[in-house]
Amino acid sequence: MAEKLEAVLYQVTEEVLEKLAFIFSFPEEERDRMDYSAAVAASVSFVGPFGGVLIIVISNEALPELAGNMLGIDEETTREQQHDALKEMINVVCGNLLPLISGKKSVFNVDAPQIIDHGVDEFCQNICGRDDETVSPAGMARLALDDGQCDILLFVEGQLPDDE
């Protein structure tokens, strides 16, 4: 199930990056997790047949291109526009991901996306409610972008459909 989940994560994230922000990405399954201290992250929580949190982490240097492409402007974008773009990106990835995991008849309630403005590691530990061990997501996609990198992490509460 973990392999299938990661394949879907890669597929959806690559497709949404390309269609929404005209950014091409390449899978980097073998690389280490990116440096989260030089990155911006956003999360979105959802509840339905299963609950969880989806997180996008993107290199600082990639964010202006993401926002500029989504807005279709060449001028410098504001920090607020960049954050808004990243929140919309994770929102669209989440909306496209859940039906592929749980089926198109499943109904999920998706919260408003949020920027993670304190440490990503701390945020992940809080999701899992533990701080004494390495926190592992149920699925993770590591992507290379023209400028920088992007990680997508999926944390799940409860059992995924195929596990039942």
Binding site: L71, G95, V107
Partner: protein
């Protein structure tokens, strides 16, 4: 005929993307209005003549489903064509929206998809 459009989405970036797509679509755009949630959308509809509403579903304060429900209760608003542009992937929810007469465009979208959906729901056949 020019089309006055109201775009309702809590994301400013998404409103800008939709507006850009509308401008690229070749549709005869008139006035364009924007709102960040369903409540603001209804307030805008009370103040301005709008021919088409483009709305998201998941929004704070008042979501898109509730806004559409309120529009359908109002004699002045119930016949305004509605296009929902959302990440919603649940067939169950989409069927509920279709029963209320709304057309649906899934995110991420192309300008062509928005154009064709608007032409269809507004009965705009040829150029």
């Amino acid at each position: 005929m020019s089309i006055n459009v109201l775009i309702v989405d809590d994301s400013g970036v998404m409103r800008a993307m939709i507006l850009k797509s509308l401008r690229m679509s070749g549709l005869p755009l008139g006035e364009t209005h924007q709102a960040a949630n369903g409540q603001e959308g209804l307030e805008t509809l009370n103040k301005h003549w709008v021919d088409l509403v483009i709305a998201d579903i998941n929004m704070p304060v008042m979501n898109g489903e509730e806004m559409i429900g309120n529009m359908k209760k109002s004699p002045e608003m119930r016949d305004i064509p509605i296009v929902v542009i959302s990440t919603e992937g649940s067939i169950t929810r989409l069927e509920q929206l279709q029963q209320k007469g709304a057309a649906f465009v899934h995110k991420p979208f192309t300008p062509e998809k928005i154009r064709d959906t608007i032409k269809n729901i507004m009965g705009l056949g040829g150029e």
